[in-house]
C-alpha cells in the first residue's frame, strides 16, 4: 500500500513535544524523517520509564521518546563542530523540508538559518517554530505548550465557575501546535509543487492558539466582553455537566441538545415530579436554574455504573458519555475497533516488550498509515546517512566519530527520574490508581516482568 507522503525527506531538528510529535505523524504518513539528535545535550526531562525503572538505555527505552520519534531515522550530531554542520548542510541539499524549534537567532549562529540554507537548496521549505514568532517585543521569550494555553486566552474560560482559571490536560497545546505545523508544511509543499519555490515558515505558537479563540476575540472587539470560567457548562444548553456515578470517582457527562432529548432523559429518570416544575420544563429556565438542576440529576446518576448508564442513555438518543480514565480509554471498544492505539513490539534487548502508542485520529481509505517501527536509538542511522545517503567514505565516518561530531550515546547518562514510588503517588493523589497486572489487562507481551515498589 502506498503512503501519502512517500518520497519526501524531512530534517527534524526539533526538541520537546509539539514538533517531534508532528514529525512523527509525517513519518507515519510515509515521509522519511531524519531526527537530528544531539548526544551532547541532556535527555528529555519528562521521562516515562517502564515500571518506573530507568533501563540501561533509559533515554531511548522511554515512553515519550518512543511516541514522539517512531518511524524516524536518527543521526546524532554535535552541531558545535563545523564537521557536523557540514553534514547537516549536505543533508539539506538532498532534503525537501527542514524543521527547527530553537530560539530565534540560534540557527543563524550555527549558519543553519533559512537565509543561508536557501542558497545551497533554493526550493527548501524551512519551518521555524517559536513561542511568539521571530519578530515583535516578545520574540525572545520562551514558549511551551503548557503555558500557551493560558497566554492565548483559553484559560480565561476554563475552571470551575466559582474559582479562578485552571488548566485542562497536561500538554493539550502541544499537539495543537504540531498539527498546525503539518498544515503549514503541506501548504508550502503544494505551493512548491505548483511554482517550484520554497519558503520560510515563521510559525508562532501564540498566533496558533489565538486562532482557535477567534469568536471570543471578536466578542471583545464587537461587544467588549471577556471570558469567565465556565466549569463544564454551556453558554445556552442545560443540562450540560458531569455527574457522579456509583463507584467512587466515576462520572458521566450528560447534555441535551434539544427538547426531545430532554423528554427522553425525563422518561429514563422515571419522570420525577421535579422535572414538571416551571424551573425545568424548558431549556431557557433550566439554564437559569442549573445549580439545582445539576444537583437533582446527580442524585439520579449516582445509582448507576458509568458505562452502563452511557449505553442506556445513548440507546435512547441522549448525548451522554462515561468520563473515561486512562485505563478505560485503552480498553474502550470503539477506540479498539478503530485501532487508535497501536501495538508496537520493541527489540528483545530493550526493557520494553510490547507497548501501546497513540496513532492518528483519522483513517485514509487508500493510503492507510501506521507505526511501522519503534523510535530509533541515538545515532542508529549515523552510518547509513553518512555513507549511503551522503556518500562519504568509511575513513571520514571514523574521523567524525573520533572528533565527536557523531555519537551514539548521550554524554550525560544520569537518568532523570521524576517519578515518586507509586504508593507515594497514590497517597499524594498524583495518581488515581495502580494496576500491577496492567500488562495482562492490555495483553502486552513481556519477557521480564518485575514488581515495582
Amino acid at each position: 500500500m502506498p503512503l501519502p507522503l512517500e518520497g519526501l525527506r524531512i530534517l527534524d531538528s526539533t526538541t520537546m513535544i509539539a514538533m517531534p510529535y508532528a514529525m512523527a505523524l509525517m513519518a507515519d504518513m510515509g515521509a522519511e524523517v531524519i531526527k537530528i539528535d544531539n548526544h551532547t545535550s541532556p535527555p528529555f526531562p519528562a521521562a516515562i520509564h517502564p515500571d518506573l525503572t530507568p533501563g540501561t538505555k533509559h533515554w531511548e527505552w522511554e515512553g515519550s521518546h518512543q511516541t514522539l520519534h517512531r518511524n524516524k531515522l536518527d543521526i546524532s550530531l554535535n552541531l558545535k563542530l563545523p564537521e557536523a554542520v557540514s553534514i547537516f548542510k549536505d543533508l539539506v541539499k538532498v532534503s525537501d523540508i527542514v524543521v527547527e524549534n530553537n530560539r530565534p537567532d540560534s540557527m543563524k549562529r550555527l549558519g543553519l538559518d533559512y537565509e543561508t540554507l536557501q542558497k545551497i537548496k533554493p526550493d527548501i521549505i524551512y519551518l521555524s517554530n517559536t513561542g511568539f514568532g521571530h519578530s515583535g517585543p516578545w520574540k525572545s521569550f520562551p514558549g511551551i505548550g503548557r503555558m500557551m494555553e493560558l497566554t492565548c486566552g483559553l484559560s480565561q474560560f476554563t475552571g470551575y465557575h466559582d474559582e479562578g482559571p485552571r488548566r485542562v490536560g497536561y500538554a493539550f497545546f502541544d499537539p495543537h501546535v504540531g498539527w498546525t505545523s503539518i498544515f503549514a508544511i503541506l501548504a508550502a509543499l503544494l505551493y512548491r509543487h505548483r511554482t517550484g519555490k520554497g519558503q520560510w515558515i515563521d510559525l508562532s505558537m501564540y498566533q496558533i492558539g489565538t486562532a482557535c479563540m477567534g469568536d471570543a476575540i471578536l466578542d471583545f472587539i464587537a461587544n467588549q466582553r471577556n471570558g469567565k470560567p465556565m466549569g463544564n457548562r454551556h453558554s445556552y444548553l442545560a443540562p450540560h455537566g458531569v455527574y457522579p456515578c456509583k463507584k467512587d470517582n466515576t462520572w458521566i457527562a450528560i447534555t441535551t441538545l434539544n427538547d426531545s432529548q430532554w423528554k427522553s432523559l425525563c422518561v429514563e429518570m422515571g419522570n420525577p415530579t421535579w422535572t414538571k416544575r416551571k424551573e425545568f420544563t424548558d431549556n431557557y429556565h433550566r439554564w437559569n436554574n442549573q445549580d439545582e438542576l445539576d444537583k437533582l440529576i446527580g442524585e439520579w446518576t449516582k445509582d448507576f455504573a458509568d458505562l452502563e448508564l452511557m449505553h442506556k442513555l445513548q440507546s435512547r438518543g441522549i448525548t451522554a458519555a462515561a468520563v473515561l480514565n486512562s485505563k478505560q480509554i485503552l480498553l474502550n471498544p470503539q477506540v479498539k475497533e478503530r485501532g487508535l492505539f497501536e501495538r508496537v513490539s520493541h527489540p528483545p534487548d530493550s526493557d520494553l516488550g510490547e507497548k501501546l502508542y497513540i496513532g492518528r485520529p483519522w483513517k485514509m481509505s487508500l493510503t492507510p498509515c501506521s507505526i511501522r517501527k519503534p523510535a530509533p536509538g541515538m545515532g542508529e542511522h549515523n552510518n547509513y546517512i553518512v555513507k549511503d545517503i551522503l556518500g562519504r567514505s568509511e575513513e571520514e565516518l571514523t574521523r567524525l566519530y573520533k572528533i565527536g561530531a557523531l555519537g551514539t550515546k548521550p554524554l550525560d547518562q544520569k537518568p532523570r527520574v521524576n517519578n515518586l514510588p507509586w504508593k507515594q503517588q497514590l497517597d499524594l493523589g498524583i495518581i488515581a490508581g495502580y494496576d500491577p497486572d496492567y500488562k495482562d489487562v492490555l495483553n502486552l507481551k513481556d519477557n521480564n516482568q518485575k514488581e515495582i515498589t
Binding site: 492565548c152 471577556n226 485520529p361
Partner: protein
C-alpha cells in the same frame, strides 16, 4: 503574492465549528471554497453567539463570521432531486469535499464515498464525525462535552475533590477541524502525485484522545492511572512541582521553576522573585516540591501577590523562566506582540460593516495567509456559482427556488 492552494476547488458540506474551520483553513491559503448551506437557515453557527452588538441576527453571528471568511455560499436542498443534480455537477469539477453529516446520511442521499468515487475518482472526501464511520459507537450522539469525557482528558483534569473538568471554550471542535485540515492536505498531495482521490474518516473523539499522549503511556508503561490533581493541591500540579495557575495582584499567572528544557535552581528562582529568604532545601527538586506543596504555597503565594501579572510575565521570560500569563480577550485584542506581527486585519462585511479580524496563524512567508472575502451571506453566491459556473439562467434560479432546491 501567490497563495498556496491557488486553483484548488473545495466543496464544503459542513456546519457548526469543526467542518467550517477545516474549510476556512483551506480558504485562508487560497482554495476556492463553495459552502453549501440548506435554504432553511443555513449553517447552525449562524444561530450561535456571540453576535455583533449582541443582535441575534442570521448574518451577525461572530462565530459564523470567524469560521467562514474566504468562502462563497450557495443554498441547496439536498433532499430534492434538483439539489442533488446541482451537487453532482459541483462535485465533478471539485478537488476536495469536506462534510460532517452523521454517518450514513450522505449514503442515503446517494453521495456515499462509493458513489462519489464514480462521480469523480480524483476527489478527496473528508468526513468529520463524532466517533468515526465505523465501530460500536458510530451512531452515538456527540458534543464538545462528550468528546472531552470519552477522550480520557477530562478524567485527569480539575480539582481532586470536584468533578472532572473540560476547557470552557469548545476546543475539541477546533482541534477536529485543524486535524481534518492537515489530513486533507496530505491526501491532496497524494492526489497530485498519484492522480487518485480517497476518503478520510476522522473521529472527533479520537482527536481529543490524541491530546492525551503522555497519560495513556503511564498506564501502558507502568500501570498508573492518571488522577485530576494532587490532594494537597495548592499550586503544585501533577508532579511537575509548582506550575499551577496562581493569583498575583491583578490576575493569574503560571510561574515555573523551569528554564528552557531543564529544571532551574530554587535559590535562583527565589532571587528572581525578590525574596531570597524563602529559599529552602525542601523546595530544591520536583519531588521535594510535591512532598512539601502546602509549605511551598505558604512561602510563595504571598510573594507573588506583590507582583503584577504583566510585570511578572515579562521579567520572568526575559530571565529565561518558563511562564504562562492568563490573558483575556481584551488583552489579546490589544497585544503589542500580535499587533507588531500584523495579526489583526480589517475587513468590510455587508451587514456588520468594518471589523478587525484575527488573522495569520501559519507564518507562510512565501505564499502568505490572506483575507480575501468576508463571511458570505446565506446564498450570496447562488447566481455567481449556478449561472456563471454551471450555466443555469436567472429564470432557472427562480424555478429552483420555487421547487425548494435553493
Amino acid at each position: 503574492m501567490d497563495t498556496a492552494l491557488d486553483g484548488l476547488r473545495v466543496i464544503d458540506l459542513t456546519s457548526g465549528i469543526a467542518g467550517p474551520l477545516c474549510t476556512k483553513m483551506l480558504g485562508d491559503i487560497g482554495a476556492n471554497v463553495i459552502k453549501i448551506e440548506n435554504p432553511r437557515g443555513g449553517d447552525d453557527s449562524r444561530n450561535t453567539g456571540p453576535f455583533f452588538k449582541d443582535d441575534p441576527h442570521l448574518e451577525k453571528s461572530l462565530l459564523f463570521f470567524y469560521l467562514n471568511c474566504n468562502k462563497k455560499s450557495i443554498t441547496l436542498e439536498l433532499q430534492t432531486s434538483n439539489g442533488k443534480k446541482i451537487l453532482n455537477q459541483l462535485l465533478k469539477n471539485a478537488d476536495v469535499l469536506v462534510e460532517n453529516y452523521s454517518p450514513g446520511y450522505l449514503e442515503q442521499l446517494g453521495f456515499g464515498y462509493e458513489e462519489i468515487r464514480k462521480i469523480n475518482p480524483g476527489l478527496v472526501m473528508t468526513s468529520i464525525t463524532p466517533f468515526g464511520q465505523t465501530g460500536p459507537y458510530r451512531d452515538y450522539q456527540g458534543s464538545d462535552l462528550i468528546y472531552y469525557a470519552m477522550s480520557g482528558i477530562q478524567y485527569a483534569s480539575g480539582a481532586y475533590d470536584k468533578e472532572p473538568l473540560k476547557h470552557g471554550h469548545p476546543q475539541s471542535l477546533y482541534m477536529a477541524g485543524l486535524s481534518a485540515g492537515y489530513a486533507t492536505l496530505a491526501a491532496v498531495y497524494f492526489k497530485l502525485m498519484s492522480g487518485t482521490g480517497q476518503h478520510i474518516d476522522l473521529s472527533i473523539m479520537e482527536v481529543i484522545a490524541s491530546h492525551y499522549i503522555d497519560t495513556t503511556l503511564r498506564y501502558s508503561y507502568a500501570g498508573l492511572i492518571e488522577s485530576r490533581a494532587p490532594k494537597q493541591n495548592g499550586g503544585s500540579f501533577k508532579g511537575t512541582g509548582f506550575d499551577g495557575i496562581v493569583p498575583v495582584s491583578d490576575g493569574y499567572i503560571s510561574p515555573t521553576i523551569q528554564r528552557g528544557r531543564q529544571q532551574g535552581k530554587f535559590s535562583d528562582f527565589s532571587k528572581f522573585l525578590g525574596a531570597p529568604e524563602i529559599n529552602n532545601p525542601k523546595f530544591e527538586s520536583k519531588d521535594l516540591r510535591n512532598l512539601h506543596a502546602t509549605e511551598l504555597d505558604e512561602a510563595i503565594l504571598p510573594v507573588l501577590k506583590t507582583w503584577k501579572k504583566m510585570d511578572y510575565f515579562e521579567a520572568a521570560a526575559e530571565d529565561g523562566w518558563i511562564v504562562g500569563l492568563v490573558q483575556t480577550s481584551e488583552e489579546l485584542t490589544n497585544s503589542a506582540q500580535l499587533h507588531e506581527r500584523g495579526y489583526f486585519v480589517e475587513i468590510e462585511h455587508p451587514i456588520i460593516g468594518k471589523i478587525k479580524y484575527p488573522g495569520d496563524y501559519l507564518g507562510l512567508t512565501g505564499s502568505p495567509w490572506s483575507l480575501r472575502l468576508p463571511a458570505p451571506l446565506l446564498g450570496q453566491h447562488n447566481e455567481e456559482i449556478l449561472c456563471d459556473q454551471l450555466g443555469y439562467s436567472r429564470k432557472d434560479l427562480v424555478r429552483l427556488r420555487g421547487l425548494g432546491a435553493i
